[in-house]
């Protein structure tokens, strides 16, 4: 333990702490714009400068190791004045369109300017002209609002292992851009949106699909159906001032009905359906020696990554569509007919914690008879905007139940919202399929939690199954390299693109802390602990869908509607 004097009071620090980390732990907040915990400190923004006695200049606390006896002044006049000037300089060529900016309520730059008392423009820099990059179906880049903190570059490279963007040019002409300054759509971007989550300004945001949804809602001829993903209901409350992890499924359903959606369904129903298909596929592959290890296919960023960077593993991907696409497909191909509505009149919306789902919805493979399975995808943030736009408040709405038959879900389907959830749900059902009975303890502790890599070995009825759960594509890449190098003890791998799974998706509420993430995770586990229906095969509505329409898992109808294929993809990488 080290003892430092910070602002004339002693604090304790651990060996290896930076000054910033030591102060944060002691509850002393030093503002930052470029700092990302656990990633390489770059000291790029200089917001975190502090005075350290014995040091000549101001020191960036994010990159300076704490040492015993150090005397630090975090908010001295000199340090605060330096921060203020930095913000003023950043604002000198920043667009003055805060009123219209997508981040106007949660912009870190605006907050700092306010905190530091910047109330006028002192420096006038010439504004650089940049083109807006709207080429991607998921992410919009506006380099004019970029302050070059580099967080997006680091998350993309160090966490996801993609590196589709980097600093281009030099000095005052520097921008964050793709190779050859092309659109994100032809780059190796996997649309995960983790860059949006770390962006302090409005330089990165999701493609806005609200206008299309509003148009559909306004058209009396259109039958508008919405489904919501498992991770959304345990996050959306945060947008309305509720504690992280509050489950607002009921109030959200109630809000969606008032907004005018004709039906409100749960994507978790389709997660149960996915498990029926995927667990059957796994059992079949193990029995017939099919391409193993089988890898999950729910996470669209991961799928694009395999297609562009590891096409040799395409046969290993489960052929199951994602739950979003399965539900869209069943709604148009079966439910619409049952309700006597022409499928062309049905507009399917999905509320997702994810920006890559927007890309997925536009995949030409995911549709039938000229209709897309999913017509529009809203992120959790867009959904909150829609609810606010209609003057609704989740805190006071009476909870309502989702519509049948796609409103019934097991808690296994709900677990899809966290890393390890698909695995846990699949293990429960695979056990049942192989032995005819349920596991004694349905909880599979080894695949729970926020760790990036989790492994477990299962013995089911004489069958030995090695399972791995990874989240964050950097971890996925390392595992793929092990498999390619000859690792043979794995039969089933779950991959989630975002670290921790969908609860930490790129479409979620901005400003997520590790505590909020844990609360969302625990909320999903609490649902699984407290409810009775805990297995996909125990979902009556799923069983009925098989009886009335699909036949059995992996049947011809299932293959037609619930499965898909992938192909190698050429991108600039």
């Amino acid at each position: 333990m080290l003892t430092l004097q910070v602002n004339d009071r002693p604090i304790q620090a651990r060996q290896g702490d930076t000054v910033l980390e030591a102060c944060e732990r002691a509850g002393i907040r030093i503002p930052t714009l470029c700092h990302l915990a656990h990633l390489t400190p770059t000291g790029a923004c200089r917001m975190c400068v502090v005075e350290i006695e014995g040091q000549r200049g101001l020191v960036p606390s994010c990159a300076f190791p704490a040492s015993d006896g150090m005397c630090i002044h975090t908010h001295s006049e000199r340090a605060v004045e330096a921060r203020k000037v930095i913000v003023e300089l950043l604002l000198s060529n920043h667009p003055d369109d805060c009123l219209y900016c997508v981040r106007n309520s949660d912009c870190e730059l605006r907050e700092l300017a306010s905190e530091l008392g910047v109330r006028g423009r002192r420096y006038f820099g010439s504004k650089l002209e940049y083109k807006l990059d709207t080429s991607s179906p998921s992410i919009v880049r506006d380099p004019a609002k970029c302050i070059l903190c580099g967080k997006c570059v680091r998350v993309c490279e160090e966490v996801q292992g993609i590196g589709c963007i980097d600093f281009v040019n030099r000095g005052s002409r520097t921008v964050v851009g793709t190779a050859f300054d092309q659109g994100l759509n032809v780059s190796s971007c996997i649309n995960c949106g983790q860059c949006i989550m770390v962006c302090p300004t409005g330089a990165l945001s999701e493609q806005n699909d609200l206008p299309r949804v509003l148009a559909a809602l306004a058209d009396p001829e259109t039958f508008v159906v919405i489904q919501h993903a498992p991770a959304v209901s345990v996050t959306l409350g945060e947008e309305f001032g509720l504690r992280p992890g509050a489950d607002v499924a009921g109030a959200m359903t109630s809000a969606l009905r008032r907004i005018g959606f004709d039906r409100v369904f749960e994507t978790s129903f389709a997660a149960d359906l996915t498990i029926m298909e995927e667990a059957s596929e796994l059992v079949e592959r193990i029995k017939t020696g099919g391409p193993l290890p089988m890898m999950t296919s729910c996470s669209p960023g991961w799928i694009k990554y395999v297609e562009q960077s590891h096409p040799d593993f395409i046969p290993n991907l489960s052929s199951c569509k994602s739950p979003q696409a399965m539900l869209g497909s069943v709604i148009k191909a079966w439910y619409a007919k049952r309700e006597g509505i022409a499928p062309e009149r049905v507009f399917t919306v999905s509320a997702m914690p994810c920006t890559a789902k927007k890309f997925e919805a536009g995949r030409p493979e995911l549709g039938h008879d000229g209709l897309y399975d999913v017509d529009a995808v809203l992120t959790t943030r867009e959904l909150a905007r829609l609810i606010r736009m209609r003057g609704l408040d989740l805190r006071i709405l009476e909870p309502e139940a989702a519509d049948q038959p796609f409103g019934e879900r097991s808690t296994a389907g709900k677990l899809f919202g966290a890393s390890g959830g698909v695995m846990e749900a699949a293990i429960r059902t695979a056990h049942f399929l192989l032995t005819g009975r349920d596991l004694d303890d349905l909880k599979v502790q080894a695949v729970r939690g926020l760790d990036g890599v989790k492994e477990v070995r299962l013995e089911i009825d004489g069958l030995s199954i090695g399972a791995a759960v990874v989240s964050g594509l950097g971890n996925a890449r390392r595992l793929l390299e092990e498999v390619r190098a000859g690792r043979r003890d794995l039969q089933f791998i779950e991959v989630m693109t975002c670290p921790g799974g969908c609860i930490n998706g790129g479409g979620q509420t901005m400003g997520v802390s590790i505590e909020a993430l844990r609360a969302r995770l625990q909320a999903l586990y609490a649902i699984d602990r407290d409810e009775a229906k805990r297995t996909a095969h125990g979902n009556e509505s799923v069983r009925r869908l098989y009886d009335e329409f699909l036949g059995a898992p992996l049947s011809e109808v299932s293959h037609h509607l619930l499965h898909t294929h992938y192909g190698a993809r050429e991108v600039v990488r």
Binding site: E157, I162, G163, C164, I165, D166, F167, V168, N169, R170, G177, T178, A179, F180, D181, S187, S188, V572, R573
Partner: protein
């Protein structure tokens, strides 16, 4: 210095062959090798260098755009070098550069569509007595004025027509 032949891919592979096992710290010498051989950095080369070093293409592009020495278009048959050193600046080289860009309809680092001219900005040619000075394929033009630019460039256009 040649323009890009059709078989760029094979050519880049051949250039990369001696760099087998190279790591990221060899990036700049590799970029220099390619530019030396091709006269510029073709897109294909940037992607291939990325694969070779296991780095994303965006990073190769980022490094290459950081340095003035790298160009991304084949140089023109006539390379117009505009001196932007201190003496030339004082004598009005900014306006000269602007006039050249306007006449050729390209920016520094670019090449005209017909492949005839490219513009490069240099920090100092070392001929301050002649300021503002430009050099085209080694031929120096002293005391250039914005109005005089068109005549100089036309001279090269005529030369090209005559030799055709």
């Amino acid at each position: 210095m040649s323009t890009v032949p059709a078989e760029t891919g094979a050519r880049i592979d051949a250039l990369l062959a001696p760099w087998k096992g190279a790591r990221r710290d060899s990036l700049i010498p590799i970029l220099q090798d390619v530019q030396e051989a091709c006269g510029f950095l073709p897109k294909e080369a940037i992607v291939k260098i990325g694969r070779h070093l296991d780095l994303p293409a965006s990073k190769i592009y980022g490094v290459a755009t950081f340095y003035n020495q790298f160009r991304f278009q084949p140089p023109g048959r006539y390379q117009v070098m505009v001196c932007r050193g201190t003496a030339c600046h004082v004598k009005g080289s900014a306006a000269v550069l602007e006039a050249i860009c306007h006449d050729l309809k390209i920016r520094p680092g670019q090449t005209t569509r017909d492949g005839l001219f490219s513009i490069e900005v240099v920090a100092c040619i070392g001929a301050c007595g002649l300021a503002p000075v430009i050099s085209i394929n080694g031929e120096f033009f002293a005391g250039v004025t914005p109005d005089g630019v068109a005549a100089i460039l036309d001279g090269f256009r005529r030369k090209e027509v005559a030799s055709a």
